[in-house]
């Protein structure tokens, strides 16, 4: 890891440019302006890192460029925000989602009992199509006229405050059948998924799966009567506690959804990179549409939790130490106020960076991941179930993105464009840092964050050209373009691409297609 950093010329060149700019900045701007640009850069960099580290880990280990990563970031923001502002919306959706999941687990187990004569040929395809159609039909019936819009609208008006509990409540006579129908849809989907898999997946799923599925179903039904008391309890909590809970639920939602996506959609496509890219790209759109159908098109503002939101006579806090006792909305940095919540974003990024670094360096899982980045097939040949590790890493990566989403919600707002914008910046930062390198992802994210913050400043203040009287003003899109420019520069000066020595070709664990490594040595992968 360190060695790859040492070899990564692109990273150093970018770093040199940044240092030059920094030097220029200190001469040009007052220190307080420089400091606030740097802090803004750190904030953005932290978010880019939370996105990019997952992208990079997933790409490094399994060669999947997950273009749905931004959508999961956005889902983290939405789920976190909703947990924070209007838990009823989550509580209404949760049983339905759990029913689908539990049903699918039971279905996978049931699928193992289907007669083996159906294993191939048109009969199997017809069965598969019928199952999927039926499953879809049940889900559609189950969700018919299931209206969350009033709840979502309630969030829009009463941000952070208590929401009328009885809003959009359905009678159990309507709600319980919905759950049952979705469980049925899940069962059919599970059976279909069993047929879809390769021989190995078609093997009888263990009875444990079905038992866990039953438990999940039970939980789904058990939540129904608990929704009201839980909501009252949650809204009675302090905003700080609710924010932490939002972070937790957001991460769980992101990681769970990510794991599910890997198992059900990406796994069948290992070894077919083009299909995977198309799949994740499409998935990003689909997830965005799903979010739109629940939360609608308008964006939301999430209140900053009280811990970062006091405003008294003594605000802004004169320094960090004072802030710890007065929790002011902003802290004075060299005389310029800086929103204190952004320090939380920075801290979250740092904590996650260290946590994942420790995981990678100090644990057996980390050793396996680092080995798998080079050669997952050999890891498999040592008796390690690499597929499980893939799922886990995918879930960790999407969970990190979702954490970023929750953290970004009070800062950037919650809206449908949130994921796409951050995904682009994170992709750029990962390309700069070297695809698949974890530390590279962190450094790249910082560089892009600084570039972006600096670009914003240029747009804000304009540029004084020595020969011109007036300040030259630029359009805000320049700020966004600045990071793309850096990437273009990096790609241009990056040393020639393919360093695929025979020993570095990593052969993917892929049951039948074997060792077609030539197509896999894409130029950007082998460089770092």
């Amino acid at each position: 890891m360190v060695a790859s950093l040492r070899r990564n010329r692109a990273l150093w060149i970018t770093a040199a440019i940044v240092l030059l700019v920094l030097f220029w900045m200190t001469r040009r701007y007052e220190p307080k302006v420089t400091a606030s640009i740097l802090l803004s850069g750190l904030t953005l960099g932290s978010l880019y890192f939370l996105m990019g580290s997952g992208l990079s880990l997933i790409f490094g280990l399994m060669d999947v460029l997950n273009l749905a990563h931004g959508a999961l970031f956005m889902i983290g923001a939405y789920v976190g925000f909703t947990t924070y502002a209007n838990p009823r919306l989550i509580l209404n959706m949760l049983p339905l989602a759990l029913a689908l999941l539990g049903g699918a687990m039971i279905g996978r187990w049931l699928g193992g009992f289907l007669p083996p004569t159906l294993k191939r040929g048109w009969a199997n395809r017809a069965l598969l199509a019928a199952l999927l159609l039926l499953s879809l039909a049940l889900a559609v019936i189950g969700l018919r006229a299931f209206d969350l819009a009033p709840l979502a609208a309630a969030t829009a008006t009463a941000t952070g405050g208590a929401v009328a509990t009885e809003l959009a409540q359905e009678a159990s006579g309507v709600y319980l059948p919905r759950i049952a129908l979705l469980a049925g849809a899940g069962v059919l989907l599970g059976v279909a998924l069993t047929r879809l898999g390769k021989a190995e997946a078609r093997r009888r799923a263990r009875a444990q799966t079905a038992i866990v599925g039953l438990l999940v179903l039970g939980v789904a039904f058990a939540i129904v009567p608990l929704r009201s008391p839980v909501e009252v309890f949650l809204l009675g909590l302090s905003t700080n506690a609710r924010f932490l809970l939002a972070l937790l639920i957001g991460v769980l939602a992101g990681a769970g959804l990510g794991g599910l996506i890997e198992v059900s959609l990406i796994r069948p496509l290992y070894g077919r990179p083009l299909y995977q890219i198309l799949l994740t790209l499409g998935l990003g759109f689909a997830l965005t549409e799903m979010v739109k159908s629940v939360w609608g098109t308008p964006g939301y503002y999430m209140d900053i939790p009280a811990f970062f939101a006091s405003s008294g006579d003594n605000c802004p806090s004169p320094n960090l130490l004072a802030w710890f006792s007065d929790h002011c909305q902003s802290i004075s940095v060299l005389g310029r106020p800086f929103p204190s919540y952004r320090l939380f974003i920075i801290a979250l990024g740092v904590v996650m960076f260290v946590a994942i670094l420790l995981l990678l360096q100090r644990t057996r899982l980390g050793i396996i991941i680092r080995a798998g980045v080079q050669d997952s097939e050999m890891v498999q040949a040592l008796g390690i179930n690499v597929r499980q590790i893939f799922t886990l890493v995918f879930a960790i990566g999407t969970g990190l993105a979702a954490a970023g989403g929750v953290a970004a919600a009070p800062f950037l707002g919650v809206n449908l464009g949130l994921g796409a914008e951050l995904q682009l910046q994170a992709l750029i930062s990962v390309v700069i840092g070297g695809m698949g390198s974890y530390i590279g992802a962190a450094v790249g994210a910082l560089l892009v964050g600084f570039a972006r913050a600096f670009g914003d400043q240029l747009v804000l203040a304009g540029i004084h050209l020595p020969w011109a009287e007036d300040v030259v003003r630029m359009s805000p899109s320049i700020a966004r373009a600045s990071t793309v420019l850096i990437m273009a520069l990096v790609l241009l000066i990056r040393p020639s691409s393919s360093r695929c020595s025979p020993a570095s070709r990593s052969m993917r664990a892929r049951p039948s297609s074997g060792r077609e490594w030539s197509s896999r040595c894409s130029s950007w992968r082998c460089t770092p």
């Binding site: 890891m1 060695a3 790859s4 021989a199 190995e200 057996r364 050793i367 396996i368 680092r370 080995a371 980045v373 080079q374 050669d375 097939e377 050999m378 890891v379 498999q380 040949a381 040592l382 008796g383 390690i384 179930n385 690499v386 025979p502 020993a503 570095s504 052969m507 664990a509 049951p511 039948s512 297609s513 074997g514 060792r515 077609e516």
Partner: protein
Amino acid sequence: MPNILEVDGIHTFIGQFHILEGVSLAVPQGSITALLGRNGAGKTTTLRSIMGLNPPREGAIRYAGEPIQGKTAFQIAAKGIGYVPEYRAIFRALTVEENLKIAERQKGDLAKRSDLIFELFPDLKRFYRLPGGQLSGGQQQMLAIARALVPDNRLLLVDEPSEGLAPIIIEAIVAALRQLASHATVLLVEQNFRMASMLADRYYILDDGQSVHSGQMADLVNDRPLITKYLGAGYAGTPVTPTPERSN
């Protein structure tokens, strides 16, 4: 001696290429069996088929009497089969220690085997905390073999351990493999015929994806026509009398 491994007429495809067209072999427990053949004969593919990395489409593979074809690679490995691939596929970013640790199947495997490993390969002890990528080719090969020794493997599939190594290092590896044979059965793919003849008790010859010949190594070394026919003229030049045990 019972056979620890039996391969029965396997057919393996890579993409749409039919690579193995009926390979059969039997490896008696406790032996070193050599798998010989020209470049491209299908030796590596045979080992990969056994490991489940290129699962055969037809035929049967039995390990200790139990069919293993169709199982995934990690399940096959977990049954006690170690794989030392071509080009010493060690993990370059991992230290020597981590390279060995990752092969543990149970906690403490490495601790149990480290004495044996360090005795066979003292270099690995010296460079214990160095990244695998910084080792020399020979040391990397030693690491790859040592890695297969960490868990309690009963069968080792070793693919061309001498490839690209200096004679003196080959000697060390021969000595190690010989010691190894007292712990596990070895199926050895080797282009260096002299080395193969020094180590192996039995041999199989692959040609064009088929197993065409087998027998006792002692008979093969004196059968120049057979060697020339299947292994190429190049082999005829190598001294074919097995050297006596290396005297230290």
